[in-house]
Amino acid sequence: MSQLTQRSNRFLTRIYRNRYLYLLLFPGLVFMLVFRYLPMGGLVIAFKDYMLRLGIWGSPWVGLKHFRFIFTQNLDFPNLLRNTLSINILKLLFYFPAPIVLALMINEVQSLRLKRTIQTAVYLPHFVSWVVFGTIVMQFLSPRTGLVNAVIQAFGGTPVYFMQESEYFWGIVVISEIWKSAGWGTIMYLSALTAINQELYEAARIDGANRLQCTLHISLPGISDTIVVLLLLQIGQMMEVGFEQIYVLCKPIVYDVGDVISTYIYRVGIGNAQFSMTAAVGLFQSVVGLILIATANGVCKKLFDKRLW
């Protein structure tokens, strides 16, 4: 008994000694609990029929009703799932490698001034919003005043209504993402590249390796850790498409290919006050995302002995 009180006294002393550290921690903890963990608790409304009048706790439980509705009756849902997954798979195939290739190329530039200038230019689009960038993309693609259609017409073609035809939408999303984000995406790879021992390159050159061989056998393995980590994160995002890009680019006329889970939750959930059903959609999205990233992490741990956490 006395041993126990002694131990708890020692524990309290340790807490007291660090009281200022807890004080520093406190505001962040409150913000985290209120704005990250409280909403997780709010997910219970996915299993209830939420009514504003009754509040979150007063609303009646309905079990899996909303999930049954989503998977069997909601005619929008298969479409949302297809669009979300298609856009993400296309981004994984075409957007994900872009910063890697770009970083490897920038790494080859020997003039420091040229390198800096290129970096400055390619980082720039990251610093403007999707509203700004998406508006510019739409103006470039405009059939009447756009630059792209001016070029098409100069070569004798007829103007294309890019933003109003479903077949172009996914391509526009992926290309505009590369255009806006590939440059900034190089920053992690470039910092990993600077950590590579330069003597490796010297030795390889003496052995007669050419530029491509150096890239494939020194640079690429040198950034493989970074690639794995970013790949895991990208896979974890498989169920999420950035709301703002789609919100700006997707017009009602191309909803069949452009409506994704986040834009749907916003429009139907908040717009039509269908809170419970769309919270269920959101919960499904978050849980699948969590499973995906945990699986990817496990696989990477097993195969490459590299992991995120």
Binding site: G41, I136, A195, A279, G282
Partner: protein, 290 residues
């Protein structure tokens, strides 16, 4: 050595790489040049749809239209307010939290760090966030744009890795001199990690300046809408009206859109060269390995 180097500089593959990089770099700058040129051109000529390298028929008409719009100024005011107040708050909260979590000896540190990491992997989503904002009576207040960004797990993890790398000896000697943790945090840790803090500050400020989604979801009063919402509504109004009747007046709004874009990007373009030195390579390594 020199010989080898100059040979590789002139090789075909090297020139190809440089050409491709310069092409992409130009592609990244074109939108900004286009916006500037278009916004200062005569709206009547812009609607004819010719992209020129220099303004065609220099005109301030688009800006005159814009500056007559009261909503633009209220949007700008809200955005400036949320950026200044929100960034200060977030930087204070996140650096303090990260400083404490970087102390491995602190009882509860491991558990709390796990709680931070979990928010990276799982979130409540749009609807529960909305309900929390509603329950806190923050809907239609500027605080709905500021408070939820107070905590950010990415930034906290990045800062933890920075504070953990600080030499412990400095803090220990300060402690022997009788300084408490608050003093060490504000007088030693923050000044020593200024590059990291500046980077985080920059990220948060850009995020506040550019954020659209929270303004759309949480703000309905037109005098509280931030600038990005003003811009997106302007664009959508144009598209609606041009579908109904493609009149001249709404074609000139291409000019007005570019004027808003240029005005909203101006602070970023002006500050960009000064801030650039903070994206020092290596700053992100800690975040990845976190």
């Amino acid at each position: 050595m020199m010989k080898k180097r100059s040979r590789s500089r002139n090789s075909f593959s090297y020139r190809l790489i440089i050409a491709a990089l310069v092409f992409f770099a130009v592609l990244c700058v074109i939108p900004f040049w286009y916006v500037m040129v278009t916004s200062f051109s005569d709206p009547q000529l812009v609607k004819e749809g010719q992209f020129r390298i220099l303004p065609t028929g220099y005109s301030l008409q688009a800006y005159e239209m814009l500056f007559r719009d009261q909503r633009f100024f209220s949007g700008l005011g809200i955005t400036v307010f949320r950026t200044v107040v929100g960034t200060s708050l977030s930087v204070l909260v996140q650096t303090a939290m990260a400083y404490a979590l970087a102390k491995r000896f602190l009882p509860g540190q491991a558990l709390l760090t796990r709680l931070v990491v979990f928010t990276l992997l799982f979130n409540g989503g749009i609807i529960p966030n909305y309900l929390v904002i509603q329950k806190l009576h923050l809907l239609d207040t500027v605080w709905a744009l500021i408070l939820p960004m107070g905590f950010n797990p990415w930034n906290v993890m990045l800062l933890i890795s920075f504070f953990a790398a600080l030499p412990a000896s400095l803090e220990e000697s300060a402690k022997i001199d009788g300084a408490n943790d608050l003093l060490i945090y504000s007088r030693i840790a923050i000044p020593l990690s200024l590059p990291a803090v500046a980077t985080i500050l920059l990220f948060i400020a850009v995020r506040h300046w550019n954020e659209l989604m929270d303004g759309i979801i949480y703000i309905h009063a037109s005098n509280l809408k931030p600038m990005q919402v003003y811009l997106v509504e302007l664009v959508m109004r144009t598209q609606m009206s041009s579908m109904i009747e493609p009149t001249e007046q709404n074609i000139t709004s291409v000019s007005m859109q570019t004027a808003v874009i240029f005005a909203s990007c101006l602070p970023i373009i002006i500050l960009y060269p000064f801030l650039q030195k903070y994206f020092v390579t290596g700053i992100m390594v800690g975040a990845v390995k976190g």
